[in-house]
Structures are given as C-alpha cells and as structure tokens.
Symmetry: D2
Subunit: 407 residues, 4 copies
Amino acid sequence: MRHQTEALCRPLLPEDTVVQPMLDVSPPKWHLAHTTWFWETFLLKPYLPDYTVFHPDYAYLFNSYYNSLGSRVNRADRGTLSRPALQEVYAYREFVNTHMQQLLRQPGLLPEAARELVELGLQHEQQHQELLVTDIKYILSTSPLAPAYQPAAPAAPQAPAPPVSWLPVAGGLHRIGFEGQGFCFDNEQAPHDTYVADFELQNRLVTNSEYLEFMEAGGYRNFQYWLGEGWDLAQQQGWEAPLYWVLHHGTWHRFTHQGLQPVNLAAPVTHISFYEADAYAHWRGCRLPTEQEWEIAARRFQHDTTTGTFLESGLYDPQPLPADAPADQCHQLLGDAWEWTYSAYHPYPGYQRAAGALGEYNGKFMLNQLVLRGGSCATPESHIRLTYRNFFHADKRWQFTGIRLAR
Amino acid sequence: MRHQTEALCRPLLPEDTVVQPMLDVSPPKWHLAHTTWFWETFLLKPYLPDYTVFHPDYAYLFNSYYNSLGSRVNRADRGTLSRPALQEVYAYREFVNTHMQQLLRQPGLLPEAARELVELGLQHEQQHQELLVTDIKYILSTSPLAPAYQPAAPAAPQAPAPPVSWLPVAGGLHRIGFEGQGFCFDNEQAPHDTYVADFELQNRLVTNSEYLEFMEAGGYRNFQYWLGEGWDLAQQQGWEAPLYWVLHHGTWHRFTHQGLQPVNLAAPVTHISFYEADAYAHWRGCRLPTEQEWEIAARRFQHDTTTGTFLESGLYDPQPLPADAPADQCHQLLGDAWEWTYSAYHPYPGYQRAAGALGEYNGKFMLNQLVLRGGSCATPESHIRLTYRNFFHADKRWQFTGIRLAR
Amino acid sequence: MRHQTEALCRPLLPEDTVVQPMLDVSPPKWHLAHTTWFWETFLLKPYLPDYTVFHPDYAYLFNSYYNSLGSRVNRADRGTLSRPALQEVYAYREFVNTHMQQLLRQPGLLPEAARELVELGLQHEQQHQELLVTDIKYILSTSPLAPAYQPAAPAAPQAPAPPVSWLPVAGGLHRIGFEGQGFCFDNEQAPHDTYVADFELQNRLVTNSEYLEFMEAGGYRNFQYWLGEGWDLAQQQGWEAPLYWVLHHGTWHRFTHQGLQPVNLAAPVTHISFYEADAYAHWRGCRLPTEQEWEIAARRFQHDTTTGTFLESGLYDPQPLPADAPADQCHQLLGDAWEWTYSAYHPYPGYQRAAGALGEYNGKFMLNQLVLRGGSCATPESHIRLTYRNFFHADKRWQFTGIRLAR
Amino acid sequence: MRHQTEALCRPLLPEDTVVQPMLDVSPPKWHLAHTTWFWETFLLKPYLPDYTVFHPDYAYLFNSYYNSLGSRVNRADRGTLSRPALQEVYAYREFVNTHMQQLLRQPGLLPEAARELVELGLQHEQQHQELLVTDIKYILSTSPLAPAYQPAAPAAPQAPAPPVSWLPVAGGLHRIGFEGQGFCFDNEQAPHDTYVADFELQNRLVTNSEYLEFMEAGGYRNFQYWLGEGWDLAQQQGWEAPLYWVLHHGTWHRFTHQGLQPVNLAAPVTHISFYEADAYAHWRGCRLPTEQEWEIAARRFQHDTTTGTFLESGLYDPQPLPADAPADQCHQLLGDAWEWTYSAYHPYPGYQRAAGALGEYNGKFMLNQLVLRGGSCATPESHIRLTYRNFFHADKRWQFTGIRLAR
C-alpha cells in the first residue's frame, strides 16, 4: 500500500517536491518523509528491539504537529528546506519499510494492542496520498507554464448532467457514528442518536453549469448571499470564480492535473470554499445539509447509488454523472468531491481523546472548522466510508470540495 | 430606557469616551452615537415625514457593519476620531429622542409592521449598554494608574462558595428555541425539537477558587488540556491567568470597575476565553455543555434558581453565591457571567434571514463563533431570557464570560 | 516660553488631546506631559533637593525613547490611554513649573555645567510646539467633518508668485556647522570644511502651481521619475497629490488649520514626502540640493532674504511670496516649509555622542533619514538657524515639508 | 566567462536550486535564468534579426525589477516556482549562448554603441556569481543537517593575525570616482573632488578574535553602542553573534561552504550587519570610514597591499592575514570581505540616470542603503576595483561583510 505514495510522486521532478507555494500545501518530499517518520516514531522506536533511527534530526524535520513529540520545523518553513535530498528521503522510506517488515514478520514483537497502530499508519498514509494529489496540483498551478502532471485524457463527453431531483428523507431519531467491525478514526466515535426534522437532499452534486448560473447572476458581487467573513475575504482576495478557474479567450478553463482544460459544464463544481458553497445555497433559496442529515440520507440511500470517482481511477477530477442516472437514486455520495456541511467539527457526544501523542491526531482540531463528507476523486476508495468526518476551515479551496444542497 | 446609556457614561471624562485600545472595544462616544444612528436610520428616516438628518456625515461615521447602508469608518479606526465632540453626540441623542417622541406620539405615522422596530431599537440599545460596561472596563484598565469607575464597595464577604453539586437531566426529545409572546431575536427562532442523552450539569458557576486550582496545577503550561489553536494563542500572548488578573505583592488581584481589587475566591471566575474554559473542563475530566443541554436544563430548573446579578445592580462584577444556597437548585443561570457552550453559533433549523439591512443584524455572523448563554452582571435584567443566544469568537476575554461544567 | 505649549492646546477639546490616528502623531496630551517629564527627569530629580515626583508612574507613561531611563509605553499605544486626564496633565505642568522656578531662583542649586540643560529643556519644548501644530492638524483632518482649529482668515491674495530665478553659488572649500555663541544641538557640531562644485539654487520654494504642473503631466503615474522605494509606496498607498489635498467639486482643496480651503496656487507646496520632492526634481530635469550646498548658499544669501512665516504668526501655513520679491535675493530660506535635501542624516566629522541619557537625544537616529533645512511655518522663529539639521524618513508627509531645487 | 555561473551550481542538487528561504536570497535556478534573460532582453531581441524568444513567459518569470519591462513574479514568490525545471533553464542558457555567439560573430549586427551592453552583460553575470555563492550558503545553512557544498579543506593555520596598525592619511582635496579606461558602473561616475580632514585607517580587517572581545564585553546587550533601529532589530531577532555562528559544545562554530567549522580567530569577521559594525566601532571608541576616506586611503596604499581572497580561489571564506604582513602596508583592501562605510548610497555629483530600462539598473536604489567597498571572497577578481560602490541595507548579514575602522 505504501508504494502508492511513491507512485504518486514518480511523475514529479525533484524541483517539484521541494516547494510550498502556500501554507496549507506541503512539499511532496515532506509528505514522503513525514509518513515514514510516523511509522518510525509510533512503531519501530517503541517495538523493534535495538532499532536505531535513520537520522537523529528527522524527528525535528518531519514531525507535523505533535507537541508531545517535541519541537519541529515551523510549518511555514517546510518549503525552505532543500535537504535532505529526495533520494535521501526515498532511502529513508526503504529503510523504514525493511524494518517494518522485520517487525511484522517476527512473532511476538508487536503486542496485540499495538496492532491497530499498523492500521492507523496505513490510514494516515492514505490521508497523505490524498494530500499529495491536491498539493501537487497546487504546486504545478503556480507556474504560468501550466505544466501537466499527466497526459491529457480524451475529452470527457460534454453531455449535460441529468436534472437534479430532490430526495425526501423522513425525520425522527436516527443513529449516526461508526458501528461495527473494521477501522474508524476516533472522531467517528461514539455512535449515538440524533434527531432531525423531515428534509430533502439533492440527488447529485451541483455542477459547473449550475454554479456558472450563480456567477453570471452576480453571485460574487452581492453581499446579501454571503456570510460576513466570507464576503470580506472574497473582496480582499478578488474571488470571481472557483480556485483554478481562468478566463482564456472568453471561455472558462480550469487548471487540472492535465494542464489547462476547458471547464466541463456537466461535471461537479469543485475547489470552492465553504463561503462560496453557502452563498450559492442562499442564492438558490436552499441551504447546505448538516452532517447529521448527510449521514442519515447516505445510510438511507447507500444501496441506491452509483459508484463515484476515487484516487484509484487516476483521474484526479470529479466526473460528470451519466445522463441516464436514475432520478430516484442518490449519486456521487462517495468520491468525486467532499461535500461541505453546515456542521462545526466538534466532538461527538461521549468522544474521548486518546492518551499520549495520538490524542493529538484529531481531538485538538475540534474548533472553527467544518465537517465535510463523502470523500473525493483524490481519496483512496478503501479509505472512505459513510461515517467519515473530514474537516477544513471555511476558507479552504485547494481540496476537491463540492456542494450538495438540502432544504 | 435610553437614558440608561447616558447614565453609564456619566462617570467618564471626555477623554475616556474617545479611545479604542483594542479592536473589539468601541469608544463610548461611538456607542452613544451609533445607537442613536440606529433610531435615525431605521425609524426616523423611513417614517417621520420631512425628517432631516442631524448631520449628513453621521451615516458614514456611525454605521457599524451594515453593507446595505453603504461605506463606513473602518472598525479599527473608531478610536482615531476625536470629532464630533462628546457634546455634539449628546445633542444628536437629544435631537433624535425628540423626533422619536414626535413619531411615536403622532398616531398613524408608524405602521403596525414597523412597531417591532421600536422594540428592536430598545433591545439594540440594551446590547450596547452591556458593551459600554465591558468596554469602559477595558479602556480604564490600560492605564497603569488603574483608575476606578466607581467608588469601591465594602468588600464582599469572602465566605467560601457552597460545594458544587451535579444536577441530573433526563435525555430525550426536548423543545428549544423561543416560543410565546414578547420579543426575541431572529436567531432564537424557530422553536424545534432536539435530542440529547442523559447528562448532568453543575448547579453553579465555577469559582475563582476552583479556577486557581487549575492554574496552580500548571493548567496554563500543559498543552494536553488545550485545543491546538488555543494553546498556540496562549503561548503567543503569554496567558497565565484570566484577563485583568495581576499578581500584586504575591496576591492575585483583578482590575474591576472599582480599580484593582483582591480576587474574591468565592465569586465566579470571569474574563476567560472559550479556550481556557475548555482546557479547565478537560483538566477536571468534564466538558462544557452544548447550548441544547444548557437550555433544556435551564427550562427544567428555571423555577428552582436564585436571582443572579444584572446591570441594574450597578455592581458590574459576578457575585459569590450565598453559602447556604440549596444544593438541589440550579444557581446563577441568568446573570453574573455568560456561560460558554461547546456549540457553534449556527442557524437553527428553519432559520430565515430577514430581508433588507436588518437581515445583516445576526445572520451573517453565523460561523466560527460559539454560543454563550444566560447573560452577565452587565446585562440588563429585562434583556435576558433562557432562549437568548449570545455569540463570541473563542479567543475573546473582555466580556463577563464564565464556566459551568457538564458531564 | 512654556505657556506657548498650553496656548497651542487651548482651542482643542479634551477629546482631541487623546487620539493618535497614526504612529508618527502623538496625542497633544502626551506632548504636554512628555515635555514636562523632561524637566522633571533631567533637572528636578537630579538637582532640586528633596524633590518628589508628581506621580511615580509618569516616568513609564511619558518617556519617549530613552533606553537609559527604563521601559515605557509602546509608541503605538500612546493613543489608547485616556488617563491621566487632561486636567491632571495641566496640574502636572504647573507642579513642575513651580518647582523649576524654585530651582532656578535659589542660588547654588544648579551647577554651572547643568545650566545648559535648562536651555535644552526650552529647545526641546519648542520642538514639541512645532509637533503640536502638525499633529493637531493631522488629528483634525481624519474626521470627515473637517473641523477648523481656528477661524478662517480672509483669503490670501491669489496673485501669482514671481517667476523663479536661479542663484549661482561659487564652489570651493566652505565651512559649515555651528560656530560662535548661543545654543545649538550636538548634531550641528563640529564646524568643518566641505568642498562643493559650483551650483545654482532656486531663489524661492516650489509653488503649488508649479507642483500642479507635475501632477497634470502624469508625475504620479510614471515610475521613471521615482526612486524604487518611493514608487512602490506611492502605488501601494494610492498617492495622487500631496497629503491633505482633495478634489472638491473639481477644484483642489487642502485641509488646513482653518478647515478645508482651496489650494492657493502661489503658496509653496507642502506636505510632500522626500520621494515626491525627488520625483518632482527629476521631472524638472533638476535635483535636490545637498545639505552642504543648502547651508553654503544660505550663508551667502542670508542678508538678502525676506522674512518667512513662523509659528509666532499664528498662520500655520506657508505663505505666498509677494509678487515683487527681488529676483536676485534668496527667499523663504527660514520659515514657511522645511526643505528636503538629498543628504543622509549622518554624524558630522568629529561628532561625539554625549554620555548618559542625553546621548540618545540625536545620535542614535543617524541612519536612514534625510536632512531638512530652514524651518517651517510651525517652527518658533527663535528656534531656527541656518545650521539647524532636522531629519525625517523619506516617506513622511505630515510635517510642513517643501522643495527648493538645485542644479 | 558565463560557464563560471554553471560551475558554481554544479555541486548542487536540483532541490537546492529551487528554494528561497528568505526574501533577499534568490533560488540558484532563478539566477541561472535571470542572467540569461538579461542577454536575451538587452541584446538578442533588439539586435539579432529574426530572433524568437526561447519561451514567451520567461520575460514575466525572470525579470528582476525593471518596471520598464513589464510585470513580473513577485520577489517573495521566486521560491514557490518549481517550473521551468532546472534542465529547461540549462537549455535556455545554451540557446541564448548559441545565439549570442551568432550575434557577436556576424559583423555589422551589433552597433558600436551597443558593444558596451555586452560588457554590461558580463559584469551583471559576475554580480550574480557572487550572489550565487552567498545565496547557496544561506540555502544550505537552513537545514539542521548542515550539508557541505564542498569538501572540507585542511584547517587553516590558527596563527594569530598580526596586531592591527593605524595608517595615517593626509586630508585635503582628493579626487574620487572612476577615471580612465575600461568598464565601470554608472554609479562610479563622475570623478570629482572631495575634501576630507586628516584621518587614520586600520591596516587590516577586524578579526573574529577582536570581534569576540566585543561579544564577551556584552556588546550585544548594551544599547549605548547601537543605533536606535539597530538595537530594536537586534532585540527583536535575538542577535548574539554574527550570522551563521552557533555555540557547539561550548565553542563558537560557523556554518560555511564546508559545513559547520570552528571559528578561525585570526580570520576577518564577516556576516555582520552595518548595525553590528557600527556598534563594534563605538565600543572600540572609533568609527567606520566614509566611502570618500576609504577610496582616498585605498588609492594611497594600493601598491602597498597584499592580494586578498576572491571567488577564483574557490575558498568562499575570508582568509587570515599572514602573521608577518608588514604593519605599514594596508591589507585586504580588495577581496575577503566587503567593508561597511558610513556613507549613504546616494548619487555622486553630476550623476545622470541612463535612459530606458538600464536607467533602473542602479539609480533607483539610491536611498536608504549604505556603500560597501573592496569586494569579498565571493567577488570575481576581475570584477572589483577601488572605485566600485556596492550597496546594501543596514540590516543585511548574508553577504560577506566586514569591518575596517577609522578614527
């Protein structure tokens, strides 16, 4: 599974793996090393006898945000470090992989209780695979040369998306949160009851075509649709369209992993902030769902849904829904684009932070961020599930974020 | 009712009414004028025939944040304007009061639908009366001279507060939100059902004595209790105690409206951020309530509660609970200190922004702030109610904010 | 002499004496107190037996920049302090004046060597009188009400200024720097020889009319005339005219101590930065003089010059030169407007910083500032002389700064 | 000559050529491309018939600061651009070199008047060679791995430097500025007379050993030696030693092109700001020379001086003076370390900016910077001369800057 991380970096030049054009983006070289540090720190050091770290300074260089594990490079400075070289980092990965195999093969080394750390290491690696996809896109986008990460695919059919339909969901007491077997993050715990009133949810993601109507109706110039903070930010940064959109000879194009491409009107809109999603909803006279509503609807419709686009497709772009997708099913629930909800990322009832460094994994971020649901075209398919709670600040646009309306 | 605003400013020097020592604080002169502008803008201009504004530039000078009403002085610059003079602002108030009386007296001028604007104007004025109390405190506190706004009262008895007790509340479906007669803000609408599990709530506010235990246990030096953002902020600003606390000859004192006074250990702790409230709760192994829990408990115990301290008392400081307060009642629900909840200030289900400028009153702030409940010693008693939703960012400390724990 | 300081503040409201609308401006209340602290610190405390300071906190509140004298209020925070009240500050002045009289009257208290401190105290007070004039102007200008500090004078005659003429000055070795009797600042010491080539200097200050030609020729839109830093700043701040200029019904007006007034085309241009002065000179194909050239020319023409406008006139505005001013004389050398020179404010050869706190008076500022010569309409006439070296950063515009060209 | 630029980059990894760890530093890849753009812009485009630019976006990407030549990448963003790839930039260099050879070989293409542009292109390239040496040092220094750019040389002998002696220079009228044949920059024009009084200059650069005395005497903790701006900066940034110095097991080490090395006490101190140089001089009771004094002394002693260290040595570090260097000669005038003077970088009398884009080369920077003289160990020997005026802001430390005292 870890080789997928390297595979994502293979099309890059060493130059691409070093830069950090904005604070949220980390250099690919850093991702490669940080995920490796995670294994070294949480498994090799505590459990492999006589393990010697690959390099004593790497704990300082590649710790992301764990106060429990000491001081570290300032996040804003990740893009100023040319060393260790990319080749050194690959050697680090191999070194750690070899020792991990040793640890896993030799019976008795890993106590039962620590087995879940292996699972966590894999899940953590998958999270960074998604970040690699989005960070690489941002890095390549900053050059006016608009370099392509992959060859352009044959143009997707521009058949219009099927008209949106509204799926009714009966209110009442519903159970949400992760239950059953398998892995989940601590923030999906504990399962609990929640009450919602009757509501309706759109059966697919909002398309570029629909979003363009908002733009053309002056959505970016009318403060009435916007939250106060969002309006101020949009003015200050001169937002007029989603991130990566540029007008090119009078036609809207978007920077993609295949360079600059015309906007596919039938595809889901993406790379929008929560502020834009909320303003769009206002303008339509609707609203964004809460995460409770989203999960309740998703559970209700999970068997009536088409398969979305995931990392494994290698497409790295939300795909249009086939024109014949049934109107009474709920589409694109998983994959394609993370769906902004109007729910704060707060602890679930009964949530407990783990002890030690891993208690910092999720819990300390539970303020001032919003929950997103459903995964995106950059999420590994095996990584996502209906109870998964992703979270970002309202102004973030560089992830594959999209909109599904409720009312 | 409006004369209460002037009364609060009477002990001030003209010099005190001009300055703005931090962004959240507005100069008292600005409060006096802005509340007047509110009446002029929303009532006199639309409804009083032939009304001529007191001064054409005041709409620019004293508009707070209404985009619908045009451009305005940058908030950060409120403290740079020495003119209009304080006396001019008093003349403005009188001018507008006189015309308001004219408008109210003469039948037929004010359509029925606009009557509620009068009520809103009064409520708005009361909100600024509370802000005057807190802003005056901050303004006077910045001087090393520690000037007193009012003469020192005889020292309150330092009898220890009664031990805290836990009040059990049965979970289930409960109705919250404003119902019935009388005024409420749009953000308390609409009443709706909510589900909570069984929980317990403390029967009084956390005291200075209890908070001091947290401080002495190293609460400000251990990141494990803190949210990530809160920890970074506390480090950066060097927080070691609530706002206004200073060690003076080895004893904790607090700046108050009566100058520097020793901390009364039995009184509720106040002037703490959400981050501190949450860290305190963590350290105690408890948590903060949600706003739903708070309101459900408050409705349950509203008849078994003592009266708290409000603006009208003139005390401007949370008061200790009598040592004989019954353990099975819930105290200090209203008054004394606003209680931080772990609930984001988001729209209630079914919430609709009003059309026009007043739609900006509450709705556009519904992100990245937290709900506080119950009013404080600076809130007019007639202004508060159990469904009232106040809101501030997590880092704010200059309001009379306090803690009540849940579990 | 000190009462002139109070006289300048008399037309102000208490509100006006508190605010600090930008970093360079200090509140008048602060000027009143700081000049008083100077006497207390450098004379009363060391030399008056048994002197007790007026208030122990004032040393912290009113020290401007003397590291030798301990910590102090951050300069940017001077406008956040409403206390001590204006009346308190006046009481402080009286207290110190009384004790100063005591000190001066009683023989033997003040050693001969300390006598010059009295002179320095007076000179320091005069410097702050000039700052009061310019700071009051800035403070009143920030209000859209454009309040007048003094009643409008009858409009000055708009007769055009006489055509400018060029005065030739022979080069060679010249002596500059203060010599002879009387007071001078340490930065005018020591007198020394300097060599300049032949040059010519304009016989009067550049007028508003001449400067308007630069503006109308696109001077603010063409980077070629500008220093790099100046161009960037002008773009960033949107400069299009001198400070205080506004287009009002299609005519250029300026904010003055008499409120908004039409620009008098014949009067010297003022309130321009060094960057603007230098760009103007470039555009004319000329240059600014060095301070050596200025002083050499001033000594040469000092007896052939008309009297300029000083603080004592109460006009607070540079005045037009009479149309019949002789072309072979050098006008407005002293008074009216400080003249930017293209000379860095560096130590003269042989300059020695004084020991102790007064060594911080001038010496530590000798970098990254430019020398200005000749005084302005806000300078007391008895304060200025031909060797006087004033200094400001190149971007400052709130002083009465003007232009005289050389070639 | 241009291949020297590539040679300097050869020991680097592609990763090293991309990053910009602080604003003053440019990525080596940018230097490689910008110097190439210079040839393309000023020679190939105007003079080579039918020349087509290598890539139309490079003018935007690699213009440094020429407003005349249109918009460009923000300086702070140079380190965010991974593309074009390093190999592309090398191809660009070869492309331009080939076309330059074509232009130079074919008679009649380059008018006589444009011949000096070729010389300017070479001089410009040399300036960037020096910057490459200093920028590479800074880039490698940011990693805790302290990577070496070149193998460690055998340790230089730690023989103490000869005692410093003072060389007297007679004052009077002296001629300075470039005269005679060969290339010079416009800022060295025009030659002119200047007057100085008698003075003395040290016969060698200040050594690490001497500077350490200043440090150990508390030089970094006593504001009295410092200019105001310098003191504030030193406090804010926590300066305690020159840039690159670290205490390692109780001994001072410096980061060098050979990794971390013990400080050689006999070598000249370097990597100090003007503020530190000036504070050192104060502490010694001396001062820094003016640029006039420096040039007068340098002309006087130019034939009695040893050869310094230049770029061509490949040492990239100032070297100790042999212990037997004669006391009556002036050493290290050229090479080793740029010598801070207390002279503002202002235009010489009679200086004229060139017309067009090259007028921006030097003239627009003539404010708020200080002149440095003599070149450093990173300067090509053929590039430096006694009249050469380098310039930096007073706070810069990443160049090889040093001290020679005057009195």
